[in-house]
Subunit: 343 residues, 2 copies
Amino acid sequence: MPEMRHDPVQRRWVIIASHRSARPTDFVRADKKELPVFNPFEEGNESETPPEVYAWRSKSSRANERGWKVRVVPNRFPVLKIEGDLDREGVGLYDKMNGIGAHEVVIESPDRFDDLSILSIDHAVEVGKAYRARLIDLMKDRRFKYVLIFRNHGEMAGSSLTHPHSQITALPVTPLVIAQELESAKKHFSDKERCLFCDLLSQEIKDGQRIIDQNEHFVAYAPFASRFPFEIALAPRKHSHDFRTITDDKLRLFMDILQRILQRLNIALDNPAYNFMLHTAPNTESFTPRPTHWATLQYDWHWHLELIPRLTNIAGFEWGSGIFINNTPPEQAAEILRSVELD
Amino acid sequence: MPEMRHDPVQRRWVIIASHRSARPTDFVRADKKELPVFNPFEEGNESETPPEVYAWRSKSSRANERGWKVRVVPNRFPVLKIEGDLDREGVGLYDKMNGIGAHEVVIESPDRFDDLSILSIDHAVEVGKAYRARLIDLMKDRRFKYVLIFRNHGEMAGSSLTHPHSQITALPVTPLVIAQELESAKKHFSDKERCLFCDLLSQEIKDGQRIIDQNEHFVAYAPFASRFPFEIALAPRKHSHDFRTITDDKLRLFMDILQRILQRLNIALDNPAYNFMLHTAPNTESFTPRPTHWATLQYDWHWHLELIPRLTNIAGFEWGSGIFINNTPPEQAAEILRSVELD
């Protein structure tokens, strides 16, 4: 019997259709793309990107030259542009505004054949520090309501360059996905005076069957209402609403567990395409009026990372309903990922 | 300058990023899949599908034998199953219920090389009649809150069989996508005592630049806040909330304009993959308590069809924000599609 499950954060239903898992078309794999002839992210090509806004580089090296290990640069093809005013305007029943924002690339290594999952832990921590530093800096711009950090890995996940990189976008609106989660969290808090995510984590840890990995400060688990096979949530055990405030010690544990779940995925599923998205707090200092409930954000919101392997296609059913069909029960996915033996 | 646009129905922002349209990776095309060796939908293979629940066939022919042109059968791999009770249950903070529903396939032609876009109009009308008949029948089952009709065309759109077909699912919940639209429509109606969709259509027809095609009863246009390049909305000009009540005359005009927009897409974009989804009224006769605002559904809801070509990939930005990046302004898409010369 297929089972329908409801997610209390995003308030969506999914169908866990394990009875369909024998279908041959379930997991699609795109062919690996040829490496592009020219790679602007590689060491030596620094002048081919816009000037860096952040870098981890040897002390003897100079900005925009060789000698870096992690480098953050504005995207050459930004989806949003940094200069200008928002200019909100109505068009009959519609609304529009200028696409003001920022779009940056975190080049995670000078080597195109490297991968976030196999960087040394010291190197991986520096990627995490780049995330933190750019969040802190971009959120000083009061035109931006939200800063989204995400990673597209593999062609199926929408990555056009194989060189290891993540992306950062600063947005002039609170994105719908985050707004819905904020609302659920607020509702739970005002009912119970407890954080929804803390409650979820506590239930998951007690239950145990969906836990994938954990360390002193972080827990990775397969969400009860996973939309996708092998979907993963990763969150700090202790309440914390803002990734900007993560300490160096905790950042090391965060990057360590992130690398471990990526290794588990790579081994269990043969290097699948995936997206991960960091869900941190919105910018409470933004200019435009903010919802009154942001006043309690530090109590009711809990930052987390969402990882979705891109193994299946999304079709008319999902587009028409918003209900996802997942052929791999999260309990089974967690067991497979948990059982992977890491070095 | 990129532009952000807001959709008043689904209340989402999109980024119209026409400045990025030169990127070579914008439109991805999947290789055409080999036809499967065995095709259960073909004439002569009737015994390989579950028994038909509806068919348009010659009077001399018998059910589940040759002689049909349109045939509706339960899906052999249903995402939801027809027998059983809902058995709603809480699991700590989570909710679950049995996956009760229906999942049917509308086989649109006995010929695997046929296509909805090129069927004779009489044949196409019979596909529309199959939609209408199955909606009427499935909505008699008071366990079902919503019946979703959709079509996946091409591998990129999640279609695993090339034989021309659409799908019908009956759901025990009101899907989120529809619930959000119902809410927007209700809000607009209670503010203004006018249908939101009627107002949108009137604005679009007056403006004209996003109109793709029209006839006496229907208008096809590119939505102002299109998420995808060449996205199309198709709706009746006159207020009508429920596809079940469409007359034969109007059904002919509906299938005619649907075929015309498919032909326009096929010519302009070389037979792209696409999904279309019919957004009709939910089942107001369902057992479970229904939102009080369904009382005014016949005034505030307006059925429509949404068509999304699958030319681009969805990546971490969209998953993390719910904001879509569309590199083709809908005004430009409309002009291209409108300019296609049909026979």
